[in-house]
Symmetry: C2
Subunit: 462 residues, 2 copies
Amino acid sequence: MRDKVRDFIIENKLIEKGDKILVALSGGPDSVCLLNVLYSLKEDFNIIIGAAHVNHMLRGDEALADEEYSKSLCKNLDIEFYVKKIDIDKISKEKNISHEMAGREERYKFFETIKNHHGYNKIAVAHNANDQAETIIMNMMRGTGIEGLCGIRSKREGGIIRPILCLSREEVELYCSSNNLEPRIDKSNLENIYSRNKVRLDIIPYMKENFNKDIINTLNRMANLIQVDNDFLEKETSDNFKVYCSNTSDALIISKEAFNLDRAIISRIIRKAFFEFTGKYSNFEMKHIYDVIELSKNTTNKRIDLTNNVLAENIYGDIYLKLKDNIIREYKEVVINKGELDNTDICYGNYNVRFNIIRNKNNIDFSKNVLIKYFDYDKIEERLVIRKRRNGDKMLPLGMKGNKKVKDIFMDLKIPVDERDKIPVLCFDNEIAWLVAHKVSEKFKITKETKNIIKITFARKG
Amino acid sequence: MRDKVRDFIIENKLIEKGDKILVALSGGPDSVCLLNVLYSLKEDFNIIIGAAHVNHMLRGDEALADEEYSKSLCKNLDIEFYVKKIDIDKISKEKNISHEMAGREERYKFFETIKNHHGYNKIAVAHNANDQAETIIMNMMRGTGIEGLCGIRSKREGGIIRPILCLSREEVELYCSSNNLEPRIDKSNLENIYSRNKVRLDIIPYMKENFNKDIINTLNRMANLIQVDNDFLEKETSDNFKVYCSNTSDALIISKEAFNLDRAIISRIIRKAFFEFTGKYSNFEMKHIYDVIELSKNTTNKRIDLTNNVLAENIYGDIYLKLKDNIIREYKEVVINKGELDNTDICYGNYNVRFNIIRNKNNIDFSKNVLIKYFDYDKIEERLVIRKRRNGDKMLPLGMKGNKKVKDIFMDLKIPVDERDKIPVLCFDNEIAWLVAHKVSEKFKITKETKNIIKITFARKG
């Protein structure tokens, strides 16, 4: 089992020598197996392991016992242990979301915070091959394209890894019993278990008995094959997106040449454009993609409504994604104190803005989205400000030696005068760090000396 | 329903004006619905319709009643009706295959013959959306990549179309009852019904009840999305195959540069190379693809065994697919009389050879495989001969004005002397028509005047 996981880790490049890995530990069989297997591979990979446990406060004494079990497990292995009690019931009521969703959100938030503050670069979570098979069948029944059939990835952005995705539930249980581990609850109580249980207890056993004894592995092999195909399609999409898409202050443009690409690619480019423009996929469906493709064949300056308050307009064959103008947004100055920046969301004008502090600058997947930028956090003295442009604004653009008037920058970029007030000006204390979507400052860029990084994400609201 | 089918036909370009379509008619609800819907669209598309029925002689009087029903249906609609009695039980015993497989083979053979001899250019078969959903689930359980998740295509090479793939079984039944058609048996008795029935009667109803009422449409939509992706991947593969793969007299070469392509593409190129080399996929698995990719990283003239008596050899980084030399084949002259050529299979040396006569030259998908060629059938006087080269052999190569010695052609092509006896020389009567895999003759090529075409397919044997 240990060797199987090691091979899987190597094959999928989940771990590099020197990684510092935080294990998400619920106390159930999967995460207990994960922690122990990784522990046994510590020397092989030369890694440091820590574990983080969230007490969801949902099952009183039981939850406390899980916490105690996890703690003592880590103590015995001499592994750093981080724990947090979170009132998931309260949060789920406040946010009007399910326990499962609130639990997931809060867990990942906690893991992310521990990771950034204690210099971990990866988070290991404990999905197994049965979870994978169940996910694929659920996605298929719900309706999906090949993305959904990829199921759970062994590696995800943000340093999330799943080293025991290659083990079936039986293998996990066998590992636990033969190593005299006595895991607590099954982690399933933290998930949307109603539908999943039907797949787990009815559909998969039926398939196993009547069609294919090896159904779990069969579905996992299928997911692996499809992931390779999907990666290729995503790469083709991303390469073509760079060539054919561009941003203005208030629009994302898909140039007409893109519509000559294969349908598999232009569909994905349109989807990606919508995501880059709004920061989310919600309510965006295949129907909208077909509508945009149809629109591109139309040369009459036609507009169509998409979802999330976005419209698509055909201008000489190019497609412009724009926000509908019927919502008046406030461009009111926002001031945030340095100490309050981490994991904070705010609104400014047409944007949702999110701040994250990253303490370990290795293994950041720097985004190429023009609305996501990274700066040297320690160069903020007291506060961060987002505001409209002002007369006399100046900044030191990246790669330049002298200050430049913001007015001149706007002129160079050919941004119409009445658009300029809509462009957020982000300042560290009194100096401009970022003309959002257009120019970043040389002064606050990340250098070799940078210790802590602030990641700032703007997303257009629907 | 009629309009739904019409839209589906247009969207998928199944029918063009002037098509002459042969409907595969079993007498069951699906094919009866298909025949009637196409009949009602006759004027819209300006098409001619015929119907072909195979009596499988498996259920005595019942089968005869099916035949009679089909016949009278066609008579009432004034549709040309073709029928053949085939003793499927006998054939399945002779060939040691199932009734289902023998039935399918014989049906398609009969349809193909009628199509070619009576000037039809398409064959319409009656799969519906439920068949599609069932096929996808069965393929998934059996193990597949995205090809299997595409399910049944609405259009296949050889002019096969499936115009009612957009209708659910319920819709087909509703159509039949509301048009007072009284179809006979369900066609399912001609299929491998054991597994399919479990999917149809257990798995799909369970999914419908517990997860998604609209599961049939959901799975059909998934198949449509995946078909678009698969077509793109196949096109990329085929384009790259042309660039990176080549044939010699006894090997297919995948050049080393191909192994820098994305994994999704090189995997498919290897698979396609195996198919082009052997004419079949049988027993070729993902494992063999991985082995070839591994082999390409090895620069030591290493050889590995694949399946079907094929080996792969690394020569300076290029991969050669070759036949293993341990089987001695006879290169014995083969003579076939003109009247016996249609739908005939023979063996010659390392090859299986198949002949098909095509009476209607529109809508042929000319293959680019060097082992498949098309000639003017009417230029054969008495017989076709396949033999070894002989001293003094001459031919008129395509595009040239004078005869050339075969010996010189071999020299120009740099084919080693000891390979030359292995190259089949195909003659129409006493003249060379084709040096197989290398040169075709100007004399027998297809011209505007050609009426009947002979398609000759060589496939290397494992």
